[in-house]
Assembly symmetry: D2
Homo-oligomer: 354 residues x 4
């Protein structure tokens, strides 16, 4: 109810603030018998890790510990508690801002909701919170791999550069996680330019899931696309979500948009892998709009908690874009969504009798 | 869990198929003491009612009955059961299609999930299901009006016509629910042309909610924007959802995107009324991409349940666009989302002590 | 959240007041492909039906209608809406009581919660509400029968008569649903005597479920016994729930209480079929304490809504005991609990791979 | 869904095994602005702490750490993560038992559910799990104290000794937590005798909550008594729950059982503080039957995982009764239940407008 849980059968609760002692996730409902080690999770954490020169200046090892739910290398079906300590916390950096509402941040809305303010780097509303999502997503990835489902994500727009994915292997290797080598280089230039100007930029992330059986999703309110939209829109910087053709569908004719069914699938995939809120068996294709991060070094108008007008420049260690660090977070949210639906009774029970 | 419930504290469960005896909704958690009559609900049902010449040929009065939860004209806090009988049901129209998968429909995915097929007009996956959403939304509207919250929606794109809203009053009067009189006329032409060609078109719906207090939403997974995205994406024809600047944000600079805080609000509203997943007190601004409806009269390739290739032309009574009937459905989903968050403890308890 | 839903994967929402136009239940999550007719449900409704001379004077046919979720005699996996109209409603009987709090009833607590009062026969808090539970339970029974699970209940105490079950077949035949022929007769005498004295009596219901696979239940808060306790305690007149030895366990030694494991089960069943909150594969054995119904013809002290002291005698058509009509309600609640757990992923997935 | 969460608006997820590195709880939905320190929680943990000579031999300091959700001594409204490390873990003690099913334990049912076995002291099914409940309950206690609600529990039966509470202050001081000084001494004798005989004993715990406003509980399935029953029955050793008169109600007459309403309450409290599933404003009175703990030193018949008959004697450090350590656990479960209902919209909203 309170919003820090995600999923129902593969349920994750996350906790922790950017400048508290630690962050973590507890996974309740992970199937038993899955091989799971801290190294499995660490691998995904590395991909969102701060410390890469292009994006962020905060350096943390982000070491995960598994505190429960695994015995002799296998999950036991009981809750898996994951802990990541905060090691490079300099709350003092934020003291100067404790009475100022940073533009584009949640400083004032949190205070309006709860009546208290944790001014240390955004507290719970910080992007740091996503480290727990990625850790939990890594566990989901292990379960889904067993079921033949794989999820990958990449940057398809950054600032003014846009591209189509041409080489997914490449997305693992370049610093902007772009599945298009030429575009990747142009994107790096965008990041440098933005940094130089003291400003920030946004972009678009593409997430693709392959290997999903047909029939995942729960009509009519928990449709697969509805839950994916929710999962991805719950990431701080996301302002839009598209499935398949997305907003382009608005200007298409039905005869063209419909994907012709074939004996074993569909002749095209405008639907993005979802019909009637249920997976079709084709690739799930989702796009996510990422806003420019609000912390910029250029001076901005704002007010204090007391309503006085002022000007603020956000100093300190900040990314110039949520991309690329948001890429593994998008993957994680899709992984968690699919892990949850894979545990729903249907279509599983239908096929397990066959 | 099973997906036919929406919301948590203002919870709605809907039921019914397009060609069964009736459809309905049960609302659990509506506050007591709200004046509610069948006429209140009927008004919203009229707005999505079939029978208007531009869009659909099925004629039904869609009379709602309140079967519980209201005593002497006031809600009692107990479940409100709403019933709408299906009166113009011609299942025979569909018998010819009972072994054919209609392109762009959920015929095959439902069968893959459940192992059975209700071939009468899509069954539960039919757009007819939304009549129950609109009925429930009308109840939410009464509650929210008491709290000073108002939700309106209109068509801002249809086929190749796009527009900005200029006159919301007008959106109530023209047959395409467009808040821009000139565009409305062009949109009507688009519908006629599509009908003449036997094809269908899509569009974009804009939803605006005003009067929301700041602090609605539940970090971090049940953020206001996350739940709105889910609510709207759960409508059959929707392929994309944007909050505020949406996909446009991807190519903006942070210094421009940030809305400068002022003493009592914000100098702009690029955020679309949400920061950190919590309402800011500014208008909520959401856009929804609607795909062209899949039932078209032009011949389409498909397969039968037995895998044989065939060609199908969808005869019968079909809209040429989900717009405008989807407009009140979008309103309903936003109303239901807000009603739910208004019952969460915070920020309510904070202010009720003040 | 709001409390009119039960279960998670086999979820039921009920609605309706004792003197409104109808009552009903919507079942979301019933497996597809189950043969289901109105007659299947009617059979269980007959068992709790008013009109039997020993207990109640209100006569209603209680005809159920299935409004959705069944096509060509089979469940489709979509919500099953069940409707039972109220046909013998005389609200006038209650007008004299509309400003008086009936002792032992929920008149004042509902008003304290919601600020409004539906004075027509208790409204939502009436025992009539359980008709919807029994209807939904009948659907669960069909699903569970397919899985080899059977639930039966009977009266093992009424007023001052107590007994052990000796003949379950008999429980279906005598008017007090007692699985012990001699005790049954004594119980009938108790009812007559209570009626003559204008007073009411309580009793104990025993529920037994056989055929459950081992491993049902979800540690640690949704243990099978925890959920059964909740399910049964949610019935209006119930004041206590015991699993297996229940309160007797408090005075036993561990060496005696422990059921010795054998190769295929246990040598005894003090546990009542649950260990560590999970089913053992032995019969589930649950006992329920039923209080004497509060509506009695003898004069009682009370107050009005305005705090004035007064005396009240409850006239009209009332049972002298919640037994036997509560017996099928107890069955229904156990059926619904088990149906829900049978759809949870484990142990199902474990065995479906075998 | 998976069963390690409790509550909806004041939601707790617990994790951890008896012999893993740590146990913990995450509280999602605790109101902001509550003063909370580790010492507040430690106080309750001391009451269930092992190391007291009468009951258990395992010595652990059970130090709690607050890892999130508190800033400058006040709760912030974000998740509160509590961690308790296991410091005195000797898994080796259990190696001899790893292929044997201990009678009365959940060894086999867990294996039947999940297909794997954590043989280290019961793993998740160990009574050690309740340390996390008590920690979370201590946070609920702080919130409820602010609202004027207080919960206390005591032992009213142990082995063959039964008593009525005469002095609640005393219950804090004697080693069996008995609110009756004479009975307390007799109970201590029972524990010693049981220990000497190598056997174990059960008992009854009484929980009383005072200061609850009228109207807590959610009809009809989440009634206050239903949720209390579930909360308490979810504790490992509990086999029965009674509200108010409980099983005694079964043999009472209605005219006697009904509590006469008075202007400001009720002239008696047979109901135990609940009518129609809603709190009446009188004390909540709940009794809980505790079975004798299954680990006994006397030899018992059982089987191995391979179905071979064998005899087992449970050596090692074991309590002879779940009492008194279960007493603060019972308190915790009632605290958590009430904290949850206090956050539900009604009756709160009704009174906050007044």
């Amino acid at each position: 109810m309170a919003g820090n849980s995600f999923g129902r059968l593969f349920r994750v609760m996350t906790w922790g603030e950017s400048h508290g002692p630690a962050l973590g996730a507890v996974i309740d409902g992970c199937p038993p018998g899955i091989a799971l080690s801290e190294a499995d999770i660490q691998k995904d954490l590395e991909r969102r890790r701060p410390g890469k020169k292009l994006t962020t200046a905060r350096k943390e090892p982000d070491r995960v510990r598994i505190l429960s739910g695994v015995f002799q290398g296998l999950t036991t079906g009981t809750p898996i508690s994951l802990l990541i300590e905060n090691t490079d916390v300099r709350s003092r950096d934020y003291e100067a801002l404790k009475d100022v509402y940073r533009p584009g941040h949640a400083d004032r809305t949190y205070e309006q909701k709860y009546g208290v303010r944790d001014w240390r780097g955004g507290g719970r509303s910080s992007g740091r919170e996503t480290v727990a999502r990625v850790a939990a997503g890594a566990v989901a990835r292990k379960f889904l791999a067993q079921e033949g489902i794989h999820v990958r994500a990449g940057t398809v727009a950054l600032g003014s550069v846009r591209c189509e994915p041409t080489d997914w292997q490449e997305a693992m290797n370049n610093p902007v996680y772009c599945p298009n080598p030429e575009a990747a280089q142009a994107m790096e230039e965008q990041l440098k330019a933005a940094k130089a100007s003291g400003d920030s930029i946004g972009g678009i992330v593409l997430v693709v899931a392959s290997g999903c059986p047909a029939g995942l999703g729960e009509p009519v309110f928990d449709k697969l696309d509805a839950r994916l939209a929710s999962a991805l829109m719950s990431i701080g910087a996301v302002k839009g979500v598209e499935i398949g053709t997305g907003f382009q569908a608005a200007s298409m004719r039905g005869s063209l948009h419909n994907d012709p069914p074939t004996a074993h699938g569909y002749a095209s995939n405008n639907a993005g892998g979802v019909l009637g809120g249920l997976s079709t068996g084709m690739d799930l294709v989702v796009k996510v709009a990422v806003k420019p991060i609000p912390s910029v070094a250029v001076p901005q108008k704002t007010v204090t908690r007391y309503g006085t007008e002022t000007t603020v420049r956000i100093e300190g260690r900040h990314d110039v874009s949520a991309i690329p660090r948001i890429v593994p977070v998008c993957e994680a949210m899709v992984l968690l969504t699919l892990a949850d639906f894979m545990l729903h009774p249907y279509p599983y029970r239908l096929h397990s009798h066959a």
